[in-house]
Structures are given as structure tokens and as C-alpha cells.
């Protein structure tokens, strides 16, 4: 009896197990699992926005695969439908990537357009600066010619002061006109062997003050060397650099600056020729030369050259840290 009972229970267990197995949903094929995953990627990513029709198409294919899975789980038909669903989801994903790449190209093209415009502006500015420089060079040359033609000579007590040796901006080189003037002055000095001579070099007010002082000394030295080469005893020649001090013209115009880039030569029997200045300060300067202080080297601390209508803000050539930057 016991054996029969065991058999019956065993049979019942087998039957119940079979029923339970039959009621369990069949496992989806690997293709269907992949199709669901790839579709989720497409649905949740950029493809949903960039290719909604493609995502819908993929969804329809996946639904067809799911329906076949219900009817005939694990069948070839399920696998084929799932495979097509995978491809359609991938298609939507790829289209979204293409749209993103196209969008990126458009953004780059816009950025390039902006760069091109900026480059055109930079080119135009560079051309403008070049023309300004060219015009500045012409103005400088005209100014030097004007200054040279107006070389001044003043008769003082027992001394002659000549202001007529002018220089290019930033240069201590003597021009041909200056050499001719110095030839005459050399003769005058030679004709008066008792006279002593002081050569004073000056710069305009642009650039660093210390460098201007050095430049003015070089200018004075250049004149001294030239006079010496013309036969004047070097012992009788004293060269002094006075930098941008004692301007004789406004430093706010090219002509004024060219006039200030000069060497003055005082020759005579006076004990201290350099202190006996015959030439007055430029009328546009607000203080007499004796009272004028050295301007600070930092351009931001400098006072504008006053007296000119426009004053410093209208100065077409703002002060720069380099000494008397020559025109290119």
C-alpha cells in the first residue's frame, strides 16, 4: 500500500511539474533579447528626437517579433523578425549620428565664417596701420626738411648758438644737410681758436626718458666726432646729452617733434655756454625750461604735453616705452 501511495505521489508530482513548465513563458531568443536592448537605446537616445520615424519603424518590427515569440517561441520566424528589429533600431541610431555630424559641420562652418570675418578685419586693420606708418614716415621726412631749412642761429654775449642739426626719430646718424651745416660750424670754430664749444643733444618727448637721455648723448657725440673729423680739436668740444628736456617745439605734432630732435652748438668765449640758453622754450609749453621737471619714464604717470589744443588725449602718436621709436 505504501509503495502504491508513493508511486501515486510521484506521478502527481511529475504531472504538476509538467503543468508548471508549460505555464512558464518561453525564454526569448538571443536575437529578441538583443532587439529589445538595441531598441531601448534608440528610444532613449538622440535617435528618438532626430529620427522618430526610424524609431517607430523599429518599434513595429520589435512588436512583430514579440508577437511571433508569443505564437512560436524560439522559432526561426521569431529570430528573423528580431533580427530585422535590431537592424531597424541600428538604422535609427546611425541616422541620428549622421544628423549629429551634419549639425557639427554646420556649427564649424559658422565658426569658420566668424573666423574669416575676424581675419578680414585684422587684415584691414593691418593695412590701415601700414598706411599710417607710411604717411607718418612722409610727414617725418617733410618735418625734418622743414626744420633743417629753418635752422636757427642766435647771437649771445660772446657766443653763437646754432640750432640746426636734426635727426630721424631714434637715430643719431647725421644727415647730408646736417654734415654741410657742421662743415660751416667747424670752419667758424677753427677761425676762433680761443673759443670753447658745447654740443648739446636733445630728443623729442616720445619714449623712455632714460633711453632718450642716452640717445641725446649719442647725438651730441656724433656731432663732436664729425667736427673732430673736420679738424676741430676734440679737446675743445664738450658733448652733453639733455634728453627730452628743453623742447623748442610742441611734442604733439610730427613737425614739432622733428624740431626737438636736434643738436645745439654753442661756441664762444663764455665760461659756461651750456647754461646761457639763447633760445626760449616753446611757447606752447606751460613752464619755462628751467622749471620743467623730468617726466617719469612710466607713460601712464606722464603728464600730457600741455598747451596744444588737443592736449595728450588727441595726440595721434601716443607715448610708447621705446625711445623715440623710429618710423618703419
Amino acid at each position: 500500500v505504501k509503495k502504491n501511495r508513493s508511486l501515486r505521489f510521484g506521478a502527481l508530482g511529475v504531472v504538476l511539474g509538467s503543468v508548471a513548465a508549460a505555464c512558464q513563458p518561453a525564454a526569448p531568443s538571443s536575437e529578441l533579447v538583443t532587439a529589445r536592448r538595441v531598441y531601448d537605446q534608440a528610444r532613449q537616445g538622440a535617435a528618438a528626437e532626430l529620427d522618430p520615424a526610424g524609431v517607430q519603424d523599429a518599434q513595429a518590427s520589435l512588436q512583430a517579433a514579440e508577437a511571433v515569440h508569443e505564437e512560436a517561441p524560439g522559432s526561426n520566424r521569431e529570430r528573423n523578425h528580431a533580427y530585422i528589429a535590431i537592424r531597424k533600431s541600428e538604422l535609427a541610431l546611425s541616422r541620428a549620428r549622421e544628423a549629429t555630424a551634419l549639425d557639427e559641420q554646420e556649427r564649424i562652418a559658422r565658426a569658420q565664417g566668424a573666423e574669416m570675418s575676424q581675419a578680414a578685419v585684422l587684415r584691414a586693420e593691418a593695412e590701415l596701420r601700414q598706411r599710417e606708418r607710411e604717411l607718418g614716415a612722409v610727414l617725418e621726412a617733410v618735418a625734418i626738411a622743414a626744420a633743417e631749412s629753418g635752422a636757427m642761429m642766435a647771437q649771445e654775449e660772446g657766443a653763437v648758438r646754432v640750432t640746426g642739426v636734426f635727426f630721424e626719430a631714434g637715430s643719431d646718424e647725421l644727415s647730408p644737410v646736417a654734415r654741410k651745416q657742421l662743415d660751416i660750424i667747424a670752419n667758424q670754430i677753427e677761425s676762433n681758436p680761443e673759443a670753447s664749444t658745447v654740443i648739446e643733444g636733445f630728443t623729442d618727448a616720445r619714449g623712455d626718458e632714460t633711453q632718450n637721455l642716452e640717445l641725446s648723448q649719442r647725438r651730441a657725440n656724433a656731432v663732436r666726432e664729425y667736427l673732430s673729423s673736420r679738424g676741430v680739436d676734440a679737446e675743445r668740444l664738450e658733448a652733453v646729452g639733455l634728453g627730452e628736456n628743453y623742447p623748442v617745439a610742441s611734442n604733439t605734432t610730427p613737425t614739432g617733434r622733428a624740431t626737438n630732435r636736434r643738436v645745439e652748438i654753442a661756441t664762444g668765449a663764455g665760461p659756461d655756454l651750456s647754461s646761457a640758453r639763447a633760445l626760449p622754450p616753446h611757447p606752447e609749453d606751460d613752464a619755462p625750461p628751467e622749471e620743467r621737471e623730468l617726466e617719469p619714464s612710466d607713460p601712464s604717470e606722464r603728464e600730457p604735453v600741455k598747451g596744444n589744443d588737443g592736449d595728450y588725449p588727441d595726440d595721434p602718436q601716443p607715448r610708447e616705452p621705446d625711445a623715440e621709436e623710429p618710423s618703419p
Binding site: L91, S94, Q105
Partner: protein, 119 residues
């Protein structure tokens, strides 16, 4: 009565013929469509991209399988195989296009970078 039976038999034979011809035509149409899709992908340079080339190869094989399945009378599975082949060839074309556009974007970035360093 005899005539009626003969008429019915003829009708059945004719209908079967039409159905077979129709299925044949349908398969031929699908094959043409898939061929067209493969050709388009080839023209777009899909063979130059590794993944696209692989998909095109799959599409060609699936089309041949579909053709033989249809010849064996299994139109249902043949149609599915044609669908697979078409899906593969369309994806091959799309991937080739996407790769090309991504390459263009990459080059544009490079040019922009070069321009930046120039300016």
C-alpha cells in the same frame, strides 16, 4: 453534372496557377528591391567601411538564401529573408553615409584648429 465537375476542376487549376504566378511575381519584385538596395549601398562606397562591407556581404547571402527558400515553395520564410537582406543593405548604406559625415566633421574641426593657430 459532369460538365460542372470539370468546370470546377479547371477553375481550381487556373486559380492555383494564378496564385503561384502571383507569388512568383512577388518574390521577383522583392528580389529586385533588395538588389536595388545593395546596388545603392555599393555605389555609396559602403564597401570602403568595414562594418558596411560586412553587412553587404550578409545581405547578398541572405538574398541567395531567400531565393532558394522561395524556389522550395516556402514563400513566408523567403519573404523574411528578403526583409533581412534589405535591412542589412539599408543599414550598410546608412553606416557608410554616417562615417563619411563624421569624417567631414572631424576634418572641419582640424581645419578650424589649424586656422585658430594661424590667426
Amino acid at each position: 453534372m459532369h460538365l460542372l465537375e470539370r468546370g470546377i476542376a479547371m477553375w481550381v487549376v487556373a486559380a492555383s496557377g494564378v496564385a503561384c504566378g502571383s507569388a512568383e511575381l512577388q518574390m521577383s519584385g522583392r528580389q529586385h528591391q533588395v538588389n536595388q538596395a545593395i546596388w545603392t549601398a555599393e555605389q555609396a562606397g559602403a564597401e570602403r567601411d568595414a562594418r558596411s562591407a560586412q553587412l553587404l556581404e550578409l545581405a547578398r547571402r541572405e538574398m541567395m538564401d531567400a531565393r532558394s527558400t522561395a524556389d522550395n515553395g516556402d514563400e513566408r520564410n523567403a519573404a523574411l529573408l528578403f526583409d533581412r537582406a534589405e535591412a542589412d543593405s539599408k543599414l550598410a548604406l546608412q553606416i557608410a553615409r554616417t562615417s563619411a559625415e563624421q569624417e567631414k566633421a572631424r576634418r572641419a574641426w582640424e581645419e578650424l584648429g589649424a586656422a585658430h593657430s594661424y590667426f
